[in-house]
Amino acid sequence: MLKYIIPTVMLMPLTWLSKGNMIWINSTTHSLLISLTSLLLMNQFSDNSLNFSLVFFSDSLSTPLLILTMWLLPLMLMASQHHLSKESLTRKKLYITMLILLQLFLIMTFTAMELIFFYILFEATLVPTLIIITRWGNQTERLNAGLYFLFYTLAGSLPLLVALVYLQNITGSLNFLILQYWVQPLSNSWSNVFMWLACMMAFMVKMPLYGLHLWLPKAHVEAPIAGSMVLAAILLKLGGYGMLRVTMFLNPLTEFMAYPFIMLSLWGMIMTSSICLRQTDLKSLIAYSSVSHMALVIVAILIQTPWSYMGATALMIAHGLTSSMLFCLANSNYERIHSRTMILARGLQTFLPLMATWWLLASLTNLALPPTINLIGELFVVMSTFSWSNITIILMGLNMVITALYSLYMLITTQRGKYTHHINNISPSFTRENAIMSLHILPLLLLSLNPKIILGPLY
């Protein structure tokens, strides 16, 4: 694991010591190289996990998430170049340092073997994200957004700390290798119920669960592009990953405790999709669609069947790439027109046809078009929830319809129709932007050829 951590840490001196015109080139190239080395993680020797040391490990659940994290850093750096071009050099370096720090914490989180280590890093990822949102966001509301983001997550995860310390006292070790063998069925008592809640709430807030999702639209909309990308693609998946790990020792209480959360997620999935239909702000629409997709993941994790676990992991990877790409597209719009309102920038297909292709592909993957991995994830989840309870298929079907509706609504409003007069002189798509889009969509499309690598440990 040090073979990833040390290069990532060394990216920081690289940025600080580079000359002004080389910081972007250096950091992007080197982070791209690091992301290519992350593919080595795929070489899993056993069905269990690839243990690097007593501190770090990776198994087939964390591997795709790790690769996604490391793949996203060069893309974030490429996407941030334009809006940082007017800042001073120190500010640019600070920004890149924040991103690298976030990357570092995320790598360590996904490979943490000890649960307290995982918790510390889980909280640590909040700090660089908060700094990015509140310092480099666009509008005054970013203070509010940062506050919501920070305190929702902190309040949710404090009980988790208590529960983990209690568990440490009881079991003597929170190491995954050992915990697997310690697992005893949790009886249905009040204290166990609270322990279940304490363990799960942090991740529910992070996912986010429908009732606790208020921080997400604010944070996504006010964050700068790299902040939105990393939030949508990775930080939400931290919640999913944490839930998948923690449910290991919470059985069989989960079957009983999960009901309210499954209901909330099923209902919330449809509610947030419907809200998307009424959104006028482009980033807000993508943020609410994230909530909707993540609600599917929550349902899948809580019903705990092999198919649903596979669907959840596939959906997490697919959504990470799609959502990040949609945010990049919305940002390319914003940089030209300086407004996030959808109706003020219409008919872009006539002006930027290649960008329209990326819009089309992103919208199609967002609505889970076959044979993309989005569909595989959603299909697995739909099938497993159907077998869990037949009625859920109505809700799932309705959600897929509404998802298709708002994805196409977004596509048609921004790309088709008569163009407005004030977009007459927008600059054509930069190669950098096209590179970002293709680097997002290429893994997505290639994975549909071999989806088994993202299907997680139960494949």
Binding site: L143, T341, L344, N425
Partner: protein, 486 residues
Amino acid sequence: MLQRALRLRLGPYLSGRGLGTYRGGSTLDWDGKVSEIKKKIQSIFPGGAWSPLYDTSHLPPERSDVVIVGGGVLGLSVAYWLKRLEKQRGAIRVLVVERDHTYARASTVLSVGGIRQQFSLPENVQLSLFSAEFLRNINEYLAVVDDPPLDLQFNPSGYLLLASEEGAAIMESNVKMQRKEGAKVCLMSPEQLQKKFPWISTEGVALASYGLENEGWFDPWCLLQGLRRKLQSMGVLFCQGEVTRFISSSSHMETGSGEQVTLKRIHEVHVKMDRSQEFQPVECAIVVNAAGAWSGQIAELAGVGNGPPGTMQGTRLPVEPRKRYVYLWHCPQGPGLEAPLVADPSGAYFRREGLGNNYLGGCSPTEEEEPDPGNLEVDYDFFQEKVWPRLAQRVPAFETLKVRSAWAGYYDYNTFDQNGVVGPHPLVVNMYFATGFSGHGLQQAPAVGRAVAEMVLEGHFQTINLSPFLFSRFYFGEKAQEHCIL
């Protein structure tokens, strides 16, 4: 605590408008608490002039989708229709920047307040017809919950335009066109005129056109306040400041025929606060120039007209302020309550004001007599020499009148063809115009606002086709001349 810490990290021009949402209300009411904390700190550490927290609630927001320069009736009308025609509530963020909230020199409130359909261009007639309908139903358009209804004091007394022998044929064809558009105008011969209005002297009059419906005058201040109130309820932000700079970017492009043009896009509007050097850069997507008499200056700031003359690049916005006087007099034997707004062929006009035999009137000076628009001082000699004789000739009762007061206001005079400029500029792609109406802007404001909002939201005029009023006519030389100017 955290909020203070976060504020300290912000630079001097990033405004911290409390923790309120952008819609205007602050949910946590930090601003009051912040000033209390400030006072406490200052009492503990007396003497220091530096304070780390400053109140920025008077500044406009850092971002807005549409910035409307000018808060007169045209600017407010554009804002109203933008908010009304948006497909979902809260879709567009509009900021209205007005330099003077007392409207001391604004053309809207200094106007005589008349509305007529008797124009020579069909587009003008359509605009006035819609505006009349808007004004009649103003309490449906501008209704605000829990607020009293508006009383525009609309006097539907009509306009009476008099024509001499030379102008009679033109008047007749105009009236025919107006009737086709739907205005209710009747033509009267001198005998009918004398019978209807006995106080008038029909000497030199060959034909008269009298508007029967939807013409008259109203209170422009009431319309302005009604619009402001409605806009505040719809979530439009108002700001008192002056636009001093546009930050824009240019790109060189080639037209289909190989000509080189430079297209410009405005990125930011710098709004300077009153009596201070403080300014706020407002990032915007669209700028609407509704600055009235000062639209020319705003257009110059945006770079309209910077170029070799004779090209589209070098075509300036030909709107300049022209001073017009309005005199208020008392005449006990004057015309009664049925008196319309009478416009003499010589250019003098008057109308009844109130019920106490008071009258308002004036005259448009010729090009040589144009007064200096530097200030709004009134020249009473102009009344003695030019206006009174003409009035007295038309209405013999006006031989004995006593001037009570007078005021002066600006026309946003379009020197090209005295008609409005509406729509986008071909080269500065995100600047839209709604100005230059040369004295008939107030009466056409509701319809023009709708037209500009349609242009912004849909991309073309939907209800009334104002393509003859686009900016490009200044370059192509296609005058949309309005002959009936008061």
